[in-house]
């Protein structure tokens, strides 16, 4: 059974963030707080849906991940792309900061 992590977008700049093991939010998937059961996940999600949390983030939701082998990996294509950026080169390949990443798996 897959476990879950909590993700959202940061309010100010829209960046994809994850609820961090160390508390707060992180842009690094690997630093996510892994929620083993629905019972673990529910209060973490609830805390992210408060008015206080909405000053920091937008649209929190739980996403399934695979953490076998000690590495956190998204299960859905959508979340791979969200985590890694577009799977295509953009801006016709000029003056861009990111290079495309191939989809794992």
């Amino acid at each position: 059974m897959s476990v879950q992590i909590l993700t959202a977008n940061r309010l100010g700049d829209g960046a994809v963030v994850y609820r961090a093991k160390a508390g707060g939010w992180t842009e690094r998937l690997g630093e996510s707080l892994v929620l083993a059961t629905p019972e673990d996940a529910a209060p973490v999600l609830a805390a992210a849906e408060t008015p206080q949390a909405s000053l920091e983030i937008v649209g929190p939701y739980l996403m399934p991940v695979d953490n076998s082998g000690g590495q956190i990996r998204p299960v859905e294509t959508r979340e791979f792309i969200r985590a890694q950026g577009p799977s295509v080169q953009f801006g016709n390949g000029h003056e861009v900061e990111n290079t495309p990443l191939s989809l794992a798996g």
């Binding site: 829209g14 960046a15 000053l55």
Partner: protein, 551 residues
């Protein structure tokens, strides 16, 4: 081009202040996200997969060089150095920050642009023929009426919370480049028996989950009644359109459930009350807007330009570009040049900031500083002297914008798909890239001829797959990306909705499937027969047979 007067300037500037205030209220916690979301959407700011996305309106697809330079500046200063031109003739920035969006809107206001009503359940940017004003087959320049509609629909107090979004398209030419039959309202300029120019009004078309071809609600609408008639349609729709089901909320569903005759009766009854109201367009107002769209100062030229003909003879690559990307102009000695944003293997519709700057310069040198955005995600320089075409083409080649594929197979429409979009089920852009790589041989594309492939990453059909000669729709099958193929669609004056050919293909197999379809067409076409004509003649069967033949 239209130029803002003090009223337009004031409105757009006030709107920036208003949004700045709303953003501050959101950041301070005074507004919840639920309250803020409709406000940001009303200013074109979405939250997408990776970040916010700002959709900037390009009214009826017309841009000046100054505006294009500003878009380039915004791309560099506030985004990742590029923008994406859309099927609504708009431009999207994929990485703006919420905190900086009011500044971006202020920058846009400086060049008479905005992002008002590029999202939300309101009247969206009115679209038009990208060749408007230059097309040889035009009755009148439709942009005059697009601008009149733009003003009327901007912050319309009654129609800001419609059941669903509402899209209007206007064309002034017989050959429909604006897809007026697949819009909520389509306006086709026409003449009545007395020779007066007015509009055929088409209502209830649309793509999305339920593709419908619009029906004529009025054969001839005199110009002065344009706004009252639109208001009557919108008022009926606002009251009776379904609000209980997002997927049944567009006007096409209402028109279908009422039947066109009854819907027309409701509209005409409403119209009878408001037709002679303050909505009636005075002739001098039409004339005032017309002056903005007066033709540029064309030189008096011969239509046969020797040096152009010589270059075309000498330079095969140039000839190939002319063949696909240059269209007849109404003025002798002039031409319309399409700038393809579909280079092989690149995301359809993307342009980098330095390309935008280059296009702005070229428009200034060769096209009276005017640029158009097409609903097929290309750009157009509408007023180029034939004598300048060779120099233009050379300059375009320097900035990788001279791909000679307008109207050919690789000139695909693709929505942003799962690479950017929150709603998508599957990726679109990489599929388009792989198709264009598979068919990268331009000789082969020329041999195939006019063929429109349109790709949507979900049922919302932003990539117009229903009206592609070959349409691809991304679907999610147990977490895997699959693509359903439709054939025989068309968005022009012979509008048709494509038919599903059979079971969907996987991400890996879909390009092979497209190639099989193309090969089948090449095998069975009669001489000079375009794909859509062949399809009309033979139907789905031969394609089904080759696609699903047992190995």
């Amino acid at each position: 081009m239209y130029r803002y007067d003090e009223f337009d300037h004031t409105l757009v500037t006030e709107r920036v202040h208003q949004f700045r205030d709303q953003v501050e209220r959101r950041l301070s916690g005074e507004l919840t996200e639920d309250q803020f979301k409709p406000l940001r959407l009303m200013n074109g700011l979405y939250l997408q997969l990776h970040a916010y996305m700002l959709r900037v309106a390009v009214p009826y697809g017309t841009l000046s060089s100054t505006q294009m330079r500003k878009l380039a500046y915004i791309a560099r200063r506030y985004d990742k150095g590029y923008g994406h031109f859309t099927t609504r003739q708009n431009i999207q920035f994929n990485w703006p920050k919420l905190e900086e969006t009011p500044d971006i809107l202020a920058e846009l206001a400086e060049v008479e642009m905005h992002a008002i009503q590029t999202s939300g359940n309101c009247i969206r940017n009115t679209t038009s023929d990208q060749f408007a004003g230059a097309a040889a087959d035009e009755i009148e320049d439709p942009r005059v009426y697009c601008e009149i509609i733009r003003q009327w629909s901007t912050l319309h107090p009654e129609f800001t919370f419609l059941p669903r979004k509402f899209k209007i398209a206007v064309t002034g030419a017989d050959h429909d480049r604006a897809a007026v039959r697949v819009h909520d309202i389509g306006l086709q300029m026409c003449r009545n028996e007395a020779g007066e120019v007015g509009f055929e009004v088409i209502v209830g078309g649309g793509l999305g989950r339920t593709p419908v071809i619009g029906q004529t609600i009025r054969e001839f609408l005199p110009k002065q009644h344009l706004l009252s008639y639109l208001e009557a349609i919108l008022r009926v729709y606002n009251q009776l359109g379904r609000r209980d089901n997002l997927y049944k909320a567009r006007i096409k569903i209402l028109v279908r459930s009422e039947g066109i005759e009854n819907f027309k009766r409701l509209v005409e009854e409403e119209w009878s009350h408001i037709k002679d109201s303050a909505l009636q367009l005075p002739e001098d107002e039409i004339a005032r807007i017309e002056t903005y769209f007066a033709p540029p100062r064309y030189e008096c030229l011969d239509d046969t330009v020797r040096e152009f003909e010589v270059k075309r003879f000498e330079d095969r690559d140039f000839a190939s570009w002319v063949r696909t990307n240059v269209t007849a102009h109404k003025e002798p000695g002039y031409a319309v040049a399409t700038i393809s944003l579909k280079p092989t293997g690149k995301p359809p519709g993307d342009a980098s900031a330095w390309q935008m700057d280059a296009i702005a310069d070229l428009a200034e040198s060769y096209s009276f500083s005017e640029i158009r955005v097409t609903h097929e995600q290309n750009l157009v320089l509408p007023n180029v002297k034939k004598a300048d075409l060779y120099a233009l083409w050379q300059s375009l080649r320097d900035v990788e914008l001279a791909t000679p594929n307008a109207g050919l197979l690789s000139d695909m429409i693709a929505c942003p798909g799962l690479d950017y979009c929150n709603l998508a089920n599957a990726r679109s852009i990489p599929v388009a890239q792989r198709i264009s790589e598979r068919f990268s041989d331009l000789e082969r594309q020329h041999d195939i001829g006019s063929l429109k492939i349109k790709i949507s990453g979900c049922i919302n059909a932003c990539g117009h797959h229903h009206v592609g000669h070959i349409g691809l729709l991304g679907v999610d099958k147990k977490g895997e990306e699959f693509y359903q193929i439709t054939l025989g669609g068309s968005a022009d004056e012979n509008t048709a909705i494509g038919k599903i050919v059979g079971p969907a293909f996987s991400y890996d197999d879909v390009v092979d499937a497209v190639e099989k379809i193309v090969d089948t067409y090449l095998n069975i076409r009669s001489e000079d027969e375009e794909f859509s004509d062949t399809f009309r003649r033979v139907g789905l069967t031969p394609f089904k047979e080759t696609l699903y033949a047992a190995h």
